[in-house]
Amino acid sequence: MIYFDNVSKIYDDDSVGLHGVTLKIEPKEFVSIVGHSGAGKTTLLKMILAEEKPTEGKVFFESTNIHDIRKKHMPDYRRHIGVIFQDFRLLPHKTAYENIAFAMEVAGRDEEEIQADVTHVLDLVGLSRKMWSFPHQLSGGEKQRVAIARAIVNQPDLIIADEPTGNLDPENTFEVIQLFKKINDLGTTVVLTTHNKGVIDSLNRRVITMEAGKVVRDEVKGGYVL
């Protein structure tokens, strides 16, 4: 599904984001990426989202070179991916419902479909009662669940989660990870970066360890080892 072909990223200040990364992510996989801060985890995710361009090498989504996608087709590409961030990045002036509906509106879905799917997905993440709350009225865990709901509502092929539990307490962390497991079980590929040893160890899935922009370990059923 995703293929990194000898990808390097050198920033303008000569710092190395990625160095000769080659890896493959298969459909329906649950992949965790671990590493110290600055190891290149976020750069790797940004490459998939086409937010960063590689200095060398190519990144493929299916058979498409991501960085050859023309600007006007970029929104279509991004609708195949659901993104979740550590800082939630919800639209502050939209309610939980509207935040999720927005992702469907931009995909051109009709009102009835939006109403049915948003209600369903809010139910799935356990936030039906907070449907009309604004982000500032929600707790960290609730915000992250709204973000997850927004990411999955269009039934994307891939979910990218950049340290999604970084701002959550253990209880919410556990709930969020259970949600990711459920999403993956339903057939969506999940790529997750985290610093949380407990999360990685409990998942018992594929773990890619990065260091100084390189992949130093790639285990099918790995644990948190730095």
């Binding site: 609708r79 002036h93 992702a103 927004r150």
Partner: protein, 305 residues
């Protein structure tokens, strides 16, 4: 397409209402800008009206000898009217000139008595000639002068007052020209400054939403869908500010009315505002909407990649 347009307008309207504080600041700054643009329009109308009043007061008076024939004077009047520079020629007969003189001096019994003692009408007929532009008076005066010289002793023209007033007319012509040029330049400069201030306010308002814009891009929103609500917001800032400005102009012009009556030949600025409300409505609301929409368009463009 229709669904998307409806969603964009709805999102823009909701954002305008929910970001009340940001909207309020943007609207207030825009009210200042539009008020300024309105003041420029009023000043320009004031300047134009005063210049027109002054212009109307400038003319060439051709005085005829007392024994000149009315038919000769009317012939010259016709010739003058055919000249492209001439806008209007007014004929004042000898009798009318006498009447006017009496009216002007109705409280001056000595002058009137002296006039009665003369017996005959000592005043000649007069042609008041108005040119289309003040700069054209010289050529009209030259034409009349040539006529006068060509006829020699049989000339019916007694006096052309242009040459006595030439300096004043020249100075006035220059003043009117400079007044108009300076007015236009100042209006453009001030309008640009106030538009820039508004643009920066809207840019700042949108800068606070740059994270939102990046999230919108990541969830797959295309540029129209991201830019649209912000532009609708900008249009709403302009529309609201325009309406507030037009409301503010009502008491403002009413208050200034008595002070400006002399400029508008007795009518005043309030009357000008009421009579030209349709045009002012379109300019103020149109400017507000255009400034809001263009500023938002440009401000969002910076954050789109």
């Amino acid at each position: 397409m229709w669904v998307n347009t409806k969603r964009i307008f709805k999102a823009g309207f909701i954002a305008f209402c929910r970001n009340a504080f940001v909207s309020l600041s943007a609207v207030l700054i825009m009210v200042v800008t539009l008020f300024f643009i309105g003041c420029i329009i009023f000043s320009s109308a004031l300047l134009k009206s005063s210049l027109q009043t002054i212009r109307d007061k400038v003319d060439i008076n051709v005085y005829f000898v007392t024994n000149s024939q009315e038919s000769d004077i009317l012939l010259l009047k016709k010739t003058l009217e055919k000249m492209p520079e001439v806008s209007k020629v007014e004929y004042i007969s000898q009798d009318q000139a006498l009447d006017n003189f009496r009216k002007r001096h109705e409280n001056d019994q000595i002058t009137l008595q002296a006039l009665d003692e003369l017996g005959d009408n000592p005043l000649g007929a007069v042609l008041n000639v108005k040119a289309k532009e003040t700069s054209q008076y010289e050529s009209i005066a030259n034409f009349l002068n040539q006529q006068n010289l060509a006829q020699g002793d049989s000339s019916i023209i007694d006096k052309i007052n242009y040459y006595q007033n030439k300096d004043a007319i020249d100075r006035l012509t220059k003043l009117i020209d400079s007044g108009q040029k300076i007015g236009v330049v100042l209006a453009i400069i001030f309008a640009l400054i106030s538009i820039l201030i508004t643009f920066n306010t809207i840019r700042l308002a949108i800068f606070t939403a740059k994270d939102e814009i990046s999230v919108m891009q990541l969830v797959g929103a295309n540029h129209i869908y991201i830019r649209g609500p912000f532009m609708v917001g900008g249009i709403l800032y302009g529309l609201t500010a325009g309406i507030i400005t037009l409301i503010l102009f009502y008491p403002f012009t009413y208050w200034l009315n008595t002070y400006t009556e002399t400029f508008f030949a007795g009518d005043g600025i309030f009357t000008y505002y009421i009579h030209n409300f349709g045009q002012l409505f379109l300019i103020i609301i149109g400017s507000g909407i255009a400034i809001g929409a263009v500023s938002s368009f440009l401000a969002v463009r910076r954050h789109l990649n």
